[in-house]
């Protein structure tokens, strides 16, 4: 198919070619904004920027911030190094090295991430890792924007830092059992949204078994 071209002719008569009237018109637009914003009544002022960081815009509930790693009820990391997040990551920013627990109790999950690193500079903040995680281990609901760093390597978050924002998951360790349908009739209560002030509350929450 040949490229379709559309010729648009801008009509410029003497009036426009004189420049001056158009300049005055343009000045009128900008000066209108100027005078409204300086002398106009407060209700009509149109300033859209805010005095960041003294004033912080409220982040939307589903804002995707810095990653965190959730913990199990015993405080260990929920992640099982299944690599789902690393596989789906379109930016290849997640690096996981799996390890095997030395002496697991019989029902413990043997596999865990020895190394879990996310390069937040490479991350494109798409949230696919959270979608892909089958264990509710990785989340981006910290409401924390990645702080600026001096060296690139400082932007690589390692396991302890990722876990420092972690909370207990709303999921039940080992699964809820075969009668989960009877236990959780209201699935809506399981999809509550995380807020930073929930961290403390979640730490206090008794284990649900």
């Amino acid at each position: 198919m040949p490229a379709r071209t559309k010729v648009v002719t801008v009509k410029r008569g003497l009036w426009e070619n004189l420049y001056l009237p158009e300049i005055v018109r343009g000045l009128g637009v900008t000066l209108k904004h100027f005078f409204i914003n300086t002398l106009g009544p407060k209700s009509k002022r149109q300033i859209v920027t805010i005095d960041y960081p003294d004033v912080v815009r409220e982040l939307p509930e589903r804002y995707r911030g810095v990653h965190r790693l959730n913990t199990r009820e015993d405080g260990s990391v929920r992640c099982t190094a299944c690599m789902m997040c690393a596989t789906i990551c379109p930016a290849n920013c997640i690096h996981i090295e799996a390890g095997e627990r030395e002496n697991p109790a019989s029902r413990d999950i043997e596999k865990f991430p020895q190394v879990f690193e996310i390069d937040e500079l490479v991350c494109v903040v798409c949230g696919l890792c959270v979608e892909a995680c089958p264990c509710d281990a990785i989340r981006m609901d910290t409401h924390v924007h990645m702080p600026p760093v001096e060296h690139r390597k400082d932007a690589v978050l390692e396991k302890p830092e990722l876990m420092s924002r972690g909370t207990k998951s709303i999921a039940v360790d080992g699964g809820a059992g075969p009668d989960w349908r009877d236990k959780y009739t209201d699935l809506g209560s399981l999809t509550q949204i995380y807020r930073p002030d929930h961290i403390e509350r979640d730490r206090e929450r008794p284990a649900r078994r």
Partner: protein
């Protein structure tokens, strides 16, 4: 003799206190005004223990920052010229202020009296020379050296190109600027700024009324001379780096200050030539006579009012310059040249011819 020196020092102090402070305020105003025009907040952060004064402390912070920054000289730069270029840029601007009349003539012996007629007036300009405006043109054209030498001495292709752009632009628009004023000279018959102001005693006699085309041409040519948007091709900081890209710290501050002093100077020139200088409507030597009001004022108050009038007018012209900068997009270089040589220069010549014809007709014996 001693009196002359004291008068000179006083006038220098007043004028430069005014010009330097205004240019400092303009650096803040430029940012706050543009912010308000674009629905932003602008700089409001600088504070001394919480007092921000709407951001007015920013010029101070900027000066401190620039003064303490590393003074970088490119290794292959021509050291002497690199160091001298900022001075070449700022010195002419400082010098041309000498001829600006910033207040009515002062009669020292009648300060507190109502003085309709002044005895032995002391003219409020640093240098009262008959060819004052020619002096301005002569000195102002030197400032192109600052830009050209800075660009050349930096040993940077971008700087050099910026310097070349600056030279061509300033030379082109200087012609228009001169031609635009010839009409004014013809009308007022003087080249002495103080005299020029005295002859604009009423609004009908103001330059802008008698020479509207001359005013527009001069104003825009002057903006082009100050190298500001929409004519900021020598130093388009956001896209095309310019002649002082290699400058930093105090040297950069010198260029920066020079630019804002130029704004103030354009304001002073436009005020003096076209807006009646310190003349205010109804302000006469013995008091205010406006809207039926007949207020007798002592001489010192009249001088003060003249000074205030002058300041307000300069400030408005500066405001207009900033507003133009933040409203119009930058021209392309070919458009700039076409406008200068094919638009404004012919227009200014036509203005001269028409003015000359009218002046000739007005003064001809046929009419008289």
């Amino acid at each position: 003799m001693g009196e002359i020196v004291i008068w000179a020092l006083v006038k220098i102090a007043i004028l430069f206190g005014f010009a330097l402070n205004l240019s400092a305020v303009l650096t803040w105003m430029e940012r706050r005004q543009s912010a308000m025009m674009q629905d932003r907040m602008g700089p409001v952060k600088a504070n001394i223990s919480g007092v921000t004064l709407w951001g007015l402390l920013h010029p101070l912070a900027d000066a401190l920052k620039l003064a303490t920054k590393e003074d970088f000289v490119p290794p292959k730069a021509h050291k002497a010229i690199f160091v001298l270029a900022p001075l070449f840029a700022i010195a002419p601007v400082v010098m041309v202020f000498a001829v600006i009349p910033f207040a009515p003539p002062v009669c020292l012996k009648q300060l507190t009296a109502i003085a309709p007629r002044c005895v032995a007036p002391e003219h409020m300009q640093i240098a009262r020379i008959d060819i004052g405006l020619l002096y301005v043109f002569a000195i102002a054209s030197i400032s192109v050296y600052g830009a050209a030498l800075a660009g050349w001495a930096s040993y940077n292709n971008y700087s050099l190109l910026g310097g070349l752009r600056a030279s061509a632009q300033m030379l082109s628009y200087e012609i228009t600027m001169g031609m635009a004023l010839i009409g004014t000279f013809l009308v007022f018959g003087t080249l002495e700024p103080g005299e020029l102001v005295l002859r604009q005693s009423t609004i009908a006699k103001w330059g802008i009324v008698q020479q509207p085309l001359g005013f527009i041409l001069f104003f825009f040519a002057a903006i082009a001379e100050t190298k500001r948007a929409p004519f900021d091709l020598p130093e388009g900081e956001s896209e095309i780096v310019g002649y002082f890209v290699e400058y930093s710290g105090a040297r950069f501050m010198t260029f920066f200050l020079g630019e804002f002093l130029e704004i103030v100077f354009v304001g002073c020139m436009v005020t003096t030539i076209f807006l009646g200088g310190w003349q205010a409507p109804g302000l006469a030597a013995d008091g205010l006579h406006i809207f039926g009001l007949d207020l007798q004022l002592p001489h010192i108050a009249v001088v003060g009012l003249g000074l205030v009038t002058f300041t307000i007018k300069v400030f408005i012209v500066c405001f207009l310059q900033l507003a133009i900068r933040w409203s119009l997009p930058r021209m392309r270089y070919d458009q700039l040249m076409r406008l200068g040589w094919k638009g404004m220069l012919p227009a200014s010549i036509i203005n001269v011819i028409i003015t000359a014809a009218v002046v000739l007709w007005m003064s001809s014996p046929v009419k008289g």
